[in-house]
């Protein structure tokens, strides 16, 4: 019997030797001071440690062996993937040619290497906590340590339960609070932090959690504990406020990425049966080859940051993001025409929205949300896009990486404006319900508009920016005046357009900024004389 168990164990722990995503390695171009000394061979040896391959091996071990998640919702299609349509409602199914992934496994894995904050949402028994535990184990911690470190949200949870207790002896002896030593909870020092059912934590304790989550330190009795950079996994049964406590806005805002746990596909019950019969527990059988050490995670994190985002793609992200904050009825000054201004005023959004006459609200992407995109979310989008490209073995982000990751990043931060005429269009009703496909659709529409404006080849702001980036050193007064005139001409051209949309508002403000920088420089030149 033990022989059979060993065989089974060997099967579950097997990591295939074949590369998971074979491709040629492009040369590295970034400058690194450390390359100036030491031999190239030594460097080449270091370069051959393919952590992206290890990351993929970890992903495939989890999806093929540990977690039964046969959902490939992050699709990469190399060309004409076969499509099928089902039912009266014409449900489309695409069979992608490229390697596709399950968001439920991939995104928590990427979160581990970018040290983000991932919220896993789903009903009970969907494997939310099990996934988080597996990732703790992948980070090199023992099962006992990971289980001990999980913070289980419950209505009686106090700040001391969460962070630690003052030492009783010091409480009696201490003459001032700084003398009181704190027995900090061990989970604070770990690089993987798991908060189970975080929506069951009382509001006051949520605030203490916010400090750790946002600022990476804990505080009790004037004592500070600085936590190491870590990956966070929070789980929630229902993130729409159905938990015991409402989640505070600031804590919600700190969540980088949100994934949904899928239901169990009943065609895989046989696999469940086998697990029961063999007493298989994936967390006890993680192959050593896919466990990451602390140094390896640091290196992966560094390598991810080095992944390039081509400027053509960054421009698409910029274009997408600048659609949402602008809100014309909020003010008569372009700087204050934002959804933030409207929100702070307390005036009903729908009342203000009805004053925004004359625009094509179906075309205006900004009409679909009642808020814009925060800086934090843009940063998260960039880093997770890089991580996805890295995971796929690329050295530069592709448009599809951004398209695939975006809905998970913006899932919780975009609040839909359900009264937007866009959602009333035939066929668009489903976007009111499913945020993932809605956000992906938004990005697709934004890219279409970007292309229709030919911004890849004819972006006036880009020309001004390129000129400005060359610096102001030794630019003559005459040249400055020429540039100022060019800006004025461009603004005049735009002023002839009848309607003002969000993407244009940011362009206008950028030119105003450049105009101001040039004016200041001109003033300095005149003073210098």
């Amino acid at each position: 019997m033990s022989e059979l168990f060993d065989k089974a164990k060997g099967f579950f722990q097997k990591v295939p030797q074949a590369p998971t995503n074979p491709h040629s390695e492009p040369s590295k171009v970034k400058f690194d001071v450390h390359d100036l000394y030491g031999s190239d061979e030594q460097k080449a040896d270091q370069g051959t440690v393919a952590y992206d391959e290890k990351l993929r091996q970890a992903y495939f071990w989890i999806t093929n062996t540990a977690i039964i998640s046969p959902y490939y919702d992050i699709e990469y299609d190399d060309g004409d993937g076969k499509q099928f349509v089902f039912g009266d409602s014409k449900v489309k199914l695409t069979l992608p040619n490229g390697q596709s992934y399950s968001s439920f496994v991939l995104i928590p894995l990427l979160n581990l290497v970018v040290r983000g904050k991932c919220l896993i949402v789903g009903g009970p028994g969907r494997g939310k906590t099990a996934t988080a535990v597996l990732l703790g184990l992948l980070a090199g911690y023992s099962k006992t340590d990971v289980l001990r470190a999980i913070q289980h949200g419950q209505p009686q949870m106090t700040i001391s339960d969460l962070l630690g207790h003052p030492l009783p002896a010091d409480m009696v002896k201490a003459e001032k609070t700084s003398d009181i030593r704190i027995a900090w909870r061990k989970w604070l020092s770990m690089r993987v932090k798991i908060i189970d059912e975080y929506n069951r934590i009382p509001t006051r304790t949520q605030s203490a959690l916010l400090t750790v989550l946002a600022d990476n330190y804990a505080e009790i009795f004037d004592q500070i504990y600085e936590c190491p950079p870590s990956s966070w996994y929070l789980t929630a049964n229902d993130d729409a406020g159905g938990g015991t406590y409402q989640i505070i806005e600031a804590l919600k805002d700190r969540i980088d990425i949100v994934i949904r746990a899928f239901h169990f596909n009943t065609r895989f019950i046989e696999d469940l049966q086998k697990r029961i019969e063999l007493n298989f527990k994936p967390e006890s059988m993680i192959p050593e080859e896919i466990i990451f050490s602390e140094e390896e995670l640091d290196t992966v994190s560094k390598q991810i940051r080095e992944i390039e985002i081509p400027s053509a793609l960054r421009k698409r992200i910029e274009f997408f993001c600048r659609n949402f904050e602008f809100f014309e009825p909020a003010s008569d000054r372009i700087e204050y025409m934002t959804k933030d201004t409207a929100k702070l005023s307390g005036v009903d959004f729908h009342t203000l929205f009805s004053q925004d006459n004359g625009k094509d609200h179906v075309k205006d992407l900004g009409s679909q949300t009642i808020n814009g995109i925060s800086v934090r979310k843009i940063q998260t989008l960039l880093i997770f896009s890089k991580a996805l490209a890295y995971f796929r073995g690329n050295r530069a982000v592709e448009l599809e990486d951004i398209r695939q990751i975006m809905p998970f990043v913006l899932h919780d931060s975009f609040t839909q404006h359900l009264e937007s005429p866009f959602f009333d269009q035939p066929g668009n009703e489903k976007y009111r319900v499913d945020r993932i496909i809605w956000i992906r659709k938004l990005f697709d529409l934004s890219c279409e508009e970007y292309l229709s404006q030919n911004l890849d080849h004819d972006d006036p702001v880009e020309k001004f920016e390129a000129e400005f980036k060359k610096g102001l050193e030794n630019i003559s007064l005459r040249d400055i005046e020429k540039r100022l005139l060019e800006i004025e001409k461009q603004l005049y051209t735009w002023s002839q357009d009848k309607k003002l949309y969000g993407f244009r508002a940011d362009d206008i403000l950028k030119l105003k900024y450049l105009y101001q920088r040039y004016t200041n420089y001109r003033r300095w030149l005149q003073w210098k004389k």
Partner: protein, 316 residues
């Protein structure tokens, strides 16, 4: 990639490598992509020889490497070190000649050197290498940063940056004996031009400046010249420039506080009669002169048919 071999520099980069990588990223944010092969080449071929000549300990290496690395990233970022590579390379490498000064004032020297190169290139683009050569010869005798700045200024004046004449004459007086000797050994003309401004004993045509803006010159239309506050001001009704001239060269400095219209209104040919009555008509034979300025040893005229200013000089 080219490699460095100087031990203290390697030691310094091992300690501060992350900081320098961060600086590189900051410059990339500002200027866009900077070619890594070019940075490596400059560090190995230019900065390392200077560092090895000037700093023997790791603590001193930073004082020299840090400002040079910053200047390099800036110059590669704005492409100057690519377009004018030989000039910067030659100028930087001369710093090996005075290790002590470079070790103590590297930041100031780098800023002054790069700024001076830009200025010399702007006014006398063909004489930049000559300027570097002059500074290079006097550099070993410079004991202080002030000496270095003075030598730079006198050299710039010597290659034709006439606007520095007044300041350079003051500098010449305050130079140390050894530096004076180096400067005076440059040729017989320096003292003569310093005292008399021009080489010719009688009025003679010494050169012309300006030209049509479309051909890379200064003026949009034929200029006029006038004397305002003891300066010679040229105006084309759009911009006013100040003329500086002596035996080393003549240049127009743009972006002055004078108003173009005022300068044009003050233009006159009256002084030309004085000149002609003293020195005859044959020296300035033109009959389309629109304005003239006469000083005790210089005559500047403008013509209706020309975009240039014509300069005549003599020893008074």
């Amino acid at each position: 990639m080219e490699k460095i071999s100087y031990g203290p520099l390697i030691e310094h980069l091992q300690i501060k490598g992350d900081y320098y990588n961060q600086r590189y990223r900051e410059y990339e944010l500002r200027h866009g992509t900077i070619d890594s092969a070019l940075i490596a080449m400059w560090i190995v071929q230019v900065i390392e020889p200077i560092v090895s000549a000037t700093a023997s300990k790791e603590e001193d290496v930073g004082k020299v490497f840090n400002p040079m690395y910053d200047a390099l990233l800036s110059l590669l970022g704005n492409q100057l070190a690519i377009t004018f590579e030989s000039e910067y390379r030659y100028a930087w490498l001369m710093l090996k000649k005075n290790p002590n000064l470079v070790r103590h004032s590297c930041t100031e020297i780098m800023a002054a050197l790069n700024s001076a190169l830009t200025t010399v290139r702007k006014y006398q683009p063909t004489k930049t290498m000559m300027w570097i050569d002059m500074v290079s010869k006097s550099l070993p005798q410079c004991l202080t940063l002030d000496d270095f700045l003075k030598c730079g200024r006198i050299s710039a004046w010597s290659v034709g940056l006439a606007q520095l004449r007044k300041r350079s004459l003051e500098d010449l007086q305050s130079l140390s004996f050894s530096l004076k000797e180096v400067v005076n050994n440059r040729g017989p003309f320096l003292q003569q031009i310093a005292t008399k401004q021009w080489l010719s004993h009688t009025p003679a045509f010494v050169g012309k400046v300006g030209g049509f803006v479309g051909n890379g010159g200064t003026f949009h239309c034929p200029p006029k010249v006038s004397a305002i506050d003891s300066e010679i001001v040229a105006s084309d009704n759009e911009d006013a420039s100040v003329l500086f001239a002596d035996g080393f060269g003549s240049i127009l400095v743009q972006g002055t506080p004078f108003l173009a219209k005022d300068a044009a209104q003050l233009a006159t040919t009256k002084v030309l009669n004085d000149f002609r009555s003293r020195y005859g008509k044959s020296i300035v034979p033109f009959d389309d002169i629109t304005s003239a300025v006469l000083t005790h040893n210089t005559l500047v005229i403008s013509r209706e048919s020309s975009f240039f200013l014509y300069i005549y000089g003599w020893q008074n």
